[in-house]
């Protein structure tokens, strides 16, 4: 029983972090119909920014993540405005090709700038844990989980309650109608992409605090984001959170009750099952498929 509770708890905490990693990916896909294959590279870039701040200035990664977000937001904005926007109406495989190229460039750039050595952001508290009887709650992961949930809730509040957020949703639902209402779609898209890259950077700082990273890890985070986005569903800001928690729990339980090598297979099996039963994801709204292109 203890091990079940322990595994469940760990899975939930891990799931929260996965959700933060995937939320930007899901946002960009849902609003812009761009599958951003460079997403994982931005996560790792955020980790390096937080690491650099920690090792040179001694800045705590939970503060460093805001700096990472602030640095990466304009990068994302400019990339969308200057590059991705040029192919935004092209068939999906063109944007795939472009973001794949971006991914290669960023990952190789990080290899050159930081070498492929594994790094981790040391803190005095991330390795500590709170004991509840026999069950341990790792402090670093708990904090990362709290950040992930808080950021997702803030994102939901922004999208549903602010003019900027509503314009993002409106553009995602029907770009033509949004334009007729005076929304500058190009600006909104760039804002969305900038936001997604900033969120990826924050997630990266958390990844660096609770785990290890090097440039080669980028691909894995892109794949995870993809699975979580599809599982949770697009068009709903809670999608990534639900998807992340489900994947975290499935992986923890699979590791506990099956041979550990089945973890990935089971996560993908759950994905297939969900897609069979709910093609638009667990909480997704299929507005993108129905939207009108102008």
């Amino acid at each position: 029983m203890t091990s079940f509770v322990q595994a469940t708890l760990y899975g939930l905490l891990q799931g929260g972090l996965l959700a933060l990693i995937a939320v930007g990916f899901s946002l960009v896909w849902g609003v812009m119909n761009v599958i951003n294959l460079a997403h994982g590279a931005f996560v790792i870039l955020g980790a390096y920014i937080a690491w650099e701040l920690n090792s040179t200035l001694g800045l705590d990664p939970f503060l460093g993540m805001f700096v990472a977000a602030a640095v990466l937001f304009p990068v994302g904005y400019a990339l969308q405005r200057g590059l991705i926007n040029l192919v935004i109406n092209a068939p999906v495989f063109i944007t795939l090709l472009l973001t794949f190229g971006l991914d290669l460039l960023i990952v190789q750039g990080m290899n050159i700038a930081f070498t492929a050595n594994y790094r981790s952001i040391p803190t005095s508290y991330a390795g500590k844990s709170l004991a509840l009887g026999d069950v341990r709650i790792p402090l670093g992961r708990l904090l990362a989980f709290v950040v992930a949930v808080a950021v997702t809730l803030l994102l939901v509040a922004m999208v549903t309650r602010t003019r900027t957020g509503l314009s993002i949703m409106a553009t995602g639902m029907d770009r033509g109608a949004a334009r007729l209402m005076g929304i500058r779609a190009r600006h909104v898209y760039a804002l969305t992409f900038g936001l997604a890259v900033a969120l990826a950077g924050m997630a990266g700082a958390m990844v660096g605090t609770v785990g290890t990273f090097n440039p080669a890890a980028a691909g894995g985070y892109t794949l995870l984001s993809f699975v979580i986005a599809v599982l949770g569903g697009l068009g709903n800001m809670y999608g990534a959170l639900v998807g992340g928690l489900v994947i975290g729990l499935v992986e923890a339980w699979a590791g506990q009750y099956l041979s550990g090598t089945w973890v990935n297979a089971l996560a993908f099996l759950v994905l297939v099952l969900v897609l069979l039963l709910r093609p638009s994801g667990l909480v997704g709204r299929a507005f993108y498929a129905a939207r009108v292109e102008v």
Partner: protein
């Protein structure tokens, strides 16, 4: 118009990046004063770190041998040249590049990094009649296929965890009773686990069922939660760096504290391990193909300590065993060419098969299958943040700290 421009630019970007791994220089073995070796190494992708160390090892070999006048072949001195290619850490690319070397007439090959890459390369080497000095493919399965042209300077995979078990059995007081293996699920790690479990049974330990997790994962919490209740005295990880770091970190988070301590194969000797884990890394045992205290010397590199100083001077860091095994593979190939008196691959192959030499890397002598079984592995322990050799006792710098964990 704009779309097509972007298309062209992005395609060129992508193709250019993908292609840089497969385009080679046009140099062939035509120059009669040069001995050209082909090396496909992992400069990008998930093995980029180890690939870079491997390349450093080959480079040091090339410069030291050339500084000493080159390789003597039939009364002539040949300058050593190495053609590098990036295999992007992918076995099929590594194999293709060996094929390309063959097309260019390069018959003598220095291996890539890692068992998966080298297993793929070995098949091509065999088919083309090339000869390969294997610097980093330790999986015993490579040597069970009857290949006659691949020779590994390093100790086989079965020794990695087994050497830690031997060190504990010999030196640990009180002697622990139960051992559990946590293993990544790739072929190499599984072979390591099998070898370690066999040795542990032989040494009289109670061996609990092993726990596997996906290769390359940074979350091993499930495996740790499962073994927590069994209270093993020693936890041995058959891992790479990433999983090794995760075991120590998450064991700390989950309160998994074996009475004896932790052993992990290749993670602890890597400087990143102690750097990223700080105090948690203290007293963790690891196994290493080579340390700077290994005995033996050779005419090109001198002793292990001198080799270490050369790496420091050329690359600005102390050597890792990945450097040393790469240099040793290159050395073995050069010595075999000298011994054969020709660069003709069949003769070089026979010379390698009969090679028996001391070197900075220890003894290099191959068995029938091409494994170097004469060289023991070293067992290291992190003591005060430093990697020190504790076994075998004749090469030990310090005594084993046991139990290796603070209760």
């Amino acid at each position: 118009m704009r779309l097509s421009t972007v298309l062209v630019v992005s395609s060129v970007c992508v193709l250019g990046l993908a292609g840089c791994g497969s385009k080679g220089s046009s140099q062939t073995e035509g120059d009669s004063n040069t001995l050209t070796l082909g090396a496909a190494v992992s400069l990008t992708g998930k093995l980029a770190r180890e690939g870079a160390l491997t390349k450093e090892g080959y480079e040091l070999c090339r410069t030291k041998i050339n500084e000493a006048g080159g390789v003597s072949v039939g009364g002539k001195k040949l300058m050593l040249a190495v053609q590098y290619q990036d295999d992007t850490s992918k076995p099929d690319t590594a194999a293709q590049l060996v094929e390309q070397f063959n097309d260019k007439g390069v018959k003598l090959i220095l291996s890539s990094y890692g068992s998966a890459n080298i297993e793929a390369q070995a098949a091509v080497v065999e088919r083309n009649g090339q000869v390969m000095a294997d610097s980093a493919g330790a999986d015993d399965k490579i040597f069970e296929k009857g290949y006659r042209r691949t020779f590994a300077v390093l100790s086989p995979a079965t020794e990695y965890a087994a050497s830690i078990v031997k060190a504990i059995a010999e030196l640990a007081k009180p002697k622990p009773r139960t051992v559990v293996f946590l293993s990544a699920d790739d072929g190499f790690s599984k072979t390591v686990t099998e070898g370690g479990m066999a040795e542990a049974k032989e040494q009289g330990f109670t061996v609990l069922p092993p726990q596997y997790f996906p290769n390359g994962t940074s979350d091993v919490s499930s495996a740790l939660t499962k073994v927590k209740g069994q209270q093993p005295d020693v936890i041995i990880g058959s891992v790479h760096l990433v999983e090794g770091i995760a075991i120590v970190k998450q064991a700390h988070e989950l309160g998994v504290t074996p009475a004896g301590g932790f052993g992990e194969t290749v993670a602890p000797p890597t400087p990143d391990f102690a750097k990223t884990r700080g105090g948690q890394a203290e007293n963790v045992l690891g196994s290493s193909q080579w340390t700077e205290t290994v005995t033996g010397q050779d005419k090109y590199f001198g002793t292990a300590k001198e080799y270490g100083d050369d790496i420091q001077a050329k690359f600005g860091h102390r050597p890792e065993y990945h450097n040393a095994e790469a240099t040793a593979a290159c050395l073995a190939l050069a010595l075999a060419v000298e011994k054969a008196g020709t660069t003709e691959p069949d003769k070089v192959r026979d010379a390698l098969a009969g090679l028996d030499t001391e070197s900075f890397f220890g003894r290099i002598k191959f068995d029938e299958s091409g494994k170097n079984v004469s060289k023991p592995m070293s067992v290291i322990q992190i003591q005060n943040g430093k990697v020190v050799t504790v076994w075998p006792t004749e090469a030990a710098e310090s005594k084993l700290v046991w139990p290796g964990i603070k209760q």
